[in-house]
Amino acid sequence: MLSQLYHSVIKEFLTFFRDPGTRGVLLAAPLMQVLVFSFAASMEVRNVDIALINEDSGRWSQEFIARLRSAEFVGAVETVPTMQSFSNAVDRQRYLVGVRFPADFSRRIERGQSASVQLTLDGRRANAGQIASAYIGTIAAQMNVDIRSNQPQTRLAPGVELRHWFNPNLEFFWFIVPALAASMVLITPLMMTALSIAREREMGTFDQLLVSPVTPGQIILGKTLPAVFAGFFSGSLITLLAVYAFKIPFVGNVGLMYCGMLCFVLAVTGIGLTVSAVTNTQQQAMLGVFFCMIPLITTSGFVTPVENMPAGLQVFAEINPLKHYIIIVQGCFLKDYGWREIATNSWPLVVIATVMLTSATMILRSRLN
């Protein structure tokens, strides 16, 4: 029986490497995506244009504006006469942020009272707006600290100093490239396995397999091993790219990362084979892949933090292998995960893999019966 398995695996490898189309889609596409995504999907905000509506004539608003102008993320800072002209300009997407100082801004500070600044953000660019607002908030907080330290009559407020562990300079790439690398390891085995049974059904070779002594379990296993190999191949390629091209520090243990990768690829292969087992044509299988892939990526925590999702989706995220694997990869790159952390995040993957691979085998067997 081992020899039958061996021949099934060889066959899968040969079909995989002989088809230039598959080769391209499975190997070149993830690499392209890593390169494009990591440069395009930047979360940093630069060159923010700001409109000022200054009703205050005191020195504190000028101080604030001076600090704003010198901030790195800011592009042009222009004064507009009224809220109305500001809102017209926002319509044309001229400004992302409007900063309005009320008439009593400086007066209240002089009196030692708290003063407020009104921020108006273009909601159509919600992400950039939010980040810009956080940056401006930091400027305000800093100013607050400085004001208080210059006024000995008030007690010095304890300033908050942020220190980001594992990514001290908040390098955006450090965070996004490992997550992308994890997502890319999803694509190759998922596509490869989803297409494999459907293709054999289309070609008629699947009936030929079913009348042969090969069992459904062997068919599944025969298709799993090459997918694991392909997943490892693209995973390694992307890791090398991350370390050498993007200069992301890799502080963890390579062996442990591969343990996590194995569990992840097995889980993904199970999903792919289940999709393939229920579909009759490659076209259906492709649609199935997209049907799975988009929720897998959106609930993985890569795009939105899992903690910000509604409760139902958080449960779904727990059965999403990508969510666990992103934690593993980021952990291995930045945090030097030990075997205990790897095990904590890998066991859900093992459960998912077992369930999905079994279900694929069962579906094949039941369709046969």
């Binding site: 039958q4 060889i10 066959k11 070609m203 008629g204 070779t205 009936d207 079913l210």
Partner: protein, 577 residues
Amino acid sequence: MTVSVSVADLSKSFAQVPALKAINTLFAGGQITGLVGPDGAGKTTLMRLLAGLMTPDTGAITVAGFDTVTQKIQVHEATGYMPQRFGLYEDLSVQENLRLYAALRELPEQQREATFTRLLKFTGLTPFTTRLASRLSGGMKQKLGLACALIARPQVLLLDEPSVGVDPLSRRELWKMVRELSGEGMVVVWSTAYLDEADNCDIVVLLDDGAIAYQGSPQKLSQRLDGRSYLASHVRGDRRQWLVRALETEGVRDGVIQGDSLRLVLSQAQPTSALKELVAAAGGELSAVAPRFEDAYIDLLGGGPGGHSEIAARMEPVADSRSTMVECKGLTKRFGEFVATDNVSFSVARGEILGLLGPNGAGKSTTFKMLCGLLKPSAGEALVAGIDLRRSSSAAKLKLGYMAQKFSLYGLLSVRQNLDFFSGIYGLRGRLRQQRIEEMIEVFELDPYLQSSPDVLPLGFKQRLALACALMHRPDILFLDEPTSGVDPITRREFWTHITGLVNNGVTVLVTTHFMDEAEYCDRVALVNQGQLIALDTPDALKASVATAALPEPTMEEAFIGLIETQNALLQTEALT
């Protein structure tokens, strides 16, 4: 003015390989021209050139007065082209398909309804206008394809193998329709692998290796064989073995089985004494008969492949000595309301060939799939070598070999890798495996193709490879699902030579086919119609059952059509009462 299509000095090559070489011919209106020739002779290429879908390398084609290169649009308007697989939209109904093609052909709105009514009536599809194209049987699909090709009232009708995979009944109906069209003065070019169809054409153009080997009336070609066609009638015993021996006899160029007789083509006008002795030994009588087109066709292309099967000679006789190898009892398959197979029971003895015949959609494939364990019966059971294959261990599956009409080979693997793979999954190992692979390569002459993909192989070699893959593990039982669909007569003869040889070794064969001449090779024929087994007997007994005073010696095809029509009429009266 009569319409015609003229072809002058036409050549076409693909990547330096000539597909057509200096073709000169004329297709006249009011005639059906049959385009015949072995696989890869250039039939489809010529069809596509005639339809203006390709540009000739040299020479010119004039279709109804228009040049296919410079006046493409007029040519498209004047022709109706039906490719091997007509582009029907499977998710649209019959009516919607017609409407779509009417729109594509820019048929004026006010003419549409009348055209649809006429075509639906003509093709007999009126009761099925709302049915999805995907739910039509093979024959009905072809009729709908024809209707769509006829929408713009073409002057020239090009039909590329319209009858492949179509049952004799639908084939006959299709032929009648086309005959009617040609009677209206239309130019009809009909390419086919069925030589009985070619025999009915007014003119045949026989292509061989890209050149015209013959053009003229089929009768004229047959006449070349006057005095060389013989019938050895009423041979006793195993007809297949007598055929093998006859084909090995000196002076015999070709031969087939026809009931309990052998139809032989000789290389010279007189039978040799060796042949006379053989026929006498078989207890038959040798008499000259009128040659038919098929005899002349095979003769022109160099004669038949002979009767010796090298692979059968090398295989040891089947060891399994049970008498019944395949058995099904009350086999039933329902898909929702639809009963695809209705209470079918039969058994196949060791060393027997059982042919499963029936119209498209009659339930042949469903029955076949249940027997090989690919489909679960709704009721009843199917036993192969005493075992239910669905529940069986892998070891039981080693007993059977399977070959499907699509040949089911891995196109992404080379020929050699296909052999490696199939020998591997059947558990062959080490030296034995190498030995079997080498044997197949040698016997089927696959050596020049070992590194190529099966996809690019000539059809005949594809079939050989599929057979090789099914035989390496020495199965006791062979399941063949339309193994010769769309294959030319010489290749089919070679295939049956192997089957005959294997059966002689004790291999049991279950085969489905649409070729009536292949049914003659079967020991018994099971006729399936509308899910039911309506007849199960030897070919001769089936023929005798429909014999009448008007038709004393019906052919297999006439028997087939007769039995099916009788049952259909019966079912209709039942439905009415």
